[in-house]
Assembly symmetry: C2
Homo-oligomer: 341 residues x 2
Amino acid sequence: MQDVARRVGVSPMTVSRALRDGTSVNAQTREAILQAVDELGYVFDATAANLRNQRTGFVAVTIPSINNANFADTVRGLSEGFREHGLQSLLGYTDYDMAQEEVLVEQLLRRRPEAIIVTGGRHTPRCRRLLESAGIPVVETWDLPAEPVGHVVGFSNAAAAGMLVDHLVETGRKRIAFIGGEEGRDSRGADRRAGFVAAMRRHGLDATRLVAAGVPPVSMIEGASATRVLLEQWPDIDAILCVSDLVAFGALTECLRLGIVMPDQIAIAGFGNYEVAEVSVPPMTTVDPFPEAIGRGSAEAVLRALGLVERSDAHTAEIVPQLLVRASTVPVARSVVPAPA
Amino acid sequence: MQDVARRVGVSPMTVSRALRDGTSVNAQTREAILQAVDELGYVFDATAANLRNQRTGFVAVTIPSINNANFADTVRGLSEGFREHGLQSLLGYTDYDMAQEEVLVEQLLRRRPEAIIVTGGRHTPRCRRLLESAGIPVVETWDLPAEPVGHVVGFSNAAAAGMLVDHLVETGRKRIAFIGGEEGRDSRGADRRAGFVAAMRRHGLDATRLVAAGVPPVSMIEGASATRVLLEQWPDIDAILCVSDLVAFGALTECLRLGIVMPDQIAIAGFGNYEVAEVSVPPMTTVDPFPEAIGRGSAEAVLRALGLVERSDAHTAEIVPQLLVRASTVPVARSVVPAPA
DNA sequence: ATGAAAGCGCTAACAT
DNA sequence: ATGTTAGCGCTTTCAT
């Protein structure tokens, strides 16, 4: 900035002003400054500005995985909410691991974000302490924790899984299995499994047909091999509920390979309303958790907490998921019957 | 840091030392400092340290999209390469748009990354100038540009598409169509289409069966509807090459819905070796561009350029993609025949 | 092993 | 409309 100022013959302060608002700077001076910037190839140093302003302009965001359409949609919702307020997201990946989340949160906080948005409502004790004492707004998403750290934008994974069980039971299924991931990692997956078990018991059904298909995130291929195991162990099952649509698609392909007719012999349901659930043959019943709305809601919670939009006392925004019934659980003829006039 | 120092009765300098190496600080003093840090909930301010050190410890990375298994794998490879050297990736998304890439690159450079890794070898003129004059190592990936800015870790998208055409022609296909995205966005997709056209001409075949299915990234659903359009316009096609496996999977499902037998009536091939290509029924022929190797190679290029590992004069690392022949283009009986002893 | 001084590049606050 | 002063929270350098 010194160099630019010297070249134009003004003080660095004028350069600073010209580079920001541009108001209260002589139009010609400003022109000359912008030209000098271009000629010198000067690039503004946000590091120094951040230190001076005690504002970094970014919000830390932790998501379990970079390659997941659901979390990607949440991030898109976030980014859109932040854009016009000049906030950027600083993303970090936990790989579905609370220990990594703790490390990541600590690293992110050192970069002085103005708020932090985490996926899930369960953390290591130290991570929770870090969040509580961070002195910035905290938003937990994709969950509805009993004792949130700060703000919450999410839904009950257990209740959503229950919706799917209810649907399967209502359409006549009784011997329903659940394919999820190994325990101790993905707490949202664990909540879905717990919701499955609770709903099955509520209906007086056997809730012990549980398969752990691999380390979260469970893949399509793991979903397929788990289905084979499942069918060997419990050949009489009439429905499979999966922790995600990706696993469900793996199950669907395994049924295709084995010549099992869906939904007649076996119904399959997933979770997340991924694209594959819509386009697969047959299309799959699932639950849409509205990931982008979670993102938009989280951005709004942050903006409110920072006083950038009108404040509000609400600390929890529940985004109610929606059941999507498709041909993998209900015969097409039945699902396309128009409602009576 | 002042607060911690006061509490322990030392100077901030000692705190600074204790928080980093810990060497050349009395063990008891160090203990007391760490305890005070914990009690006060002090969090190190990386912003200030970055300014003073003129090192931020992060590398800027632009990828077209969060939510893409290929780029996610590249990022994983990068992160692994960086981890032990204490470098972090600062990710930005261009949404397959060169104008957005320009904005993003400028924003990222303000944060003073130590290197920048961009996806693709085509940029707006200003973006190219920004990269050239950034004064930090630049790596272009997922491409093999004729005039690279700096380092290159990638492959020829055109040549890879040619491999697929060659395979289809060798297995007897002649009336091959290509489904890609609308022009002017995804330059890697455009290169694949160009490679398709060039290879078809090389074989003396009609290279005009081209469909633009939507704005990149083209979805599975867009792949499915493009396939319907394709089959109406050119009912005689015997193969479809798609810009990605996701599009190819859409095409596959449309064929299933229409009762078209694969590969007998129509062969389908994709690009990227996404998981869906392996698990689909039938599994799909594709090309594996080894995304994680691109990430590892890019990390290595950065580390070498920064002098963190042994230097090298190589500026271009070609990661040669691999053709994966599966049942969507070749009858199973044929593909499983064991090699003669 | 520890401390004091100086400064990284920017900008709020107060002149003029 | 522009300039001067001071300082954000660290760490390198040079003492002691």
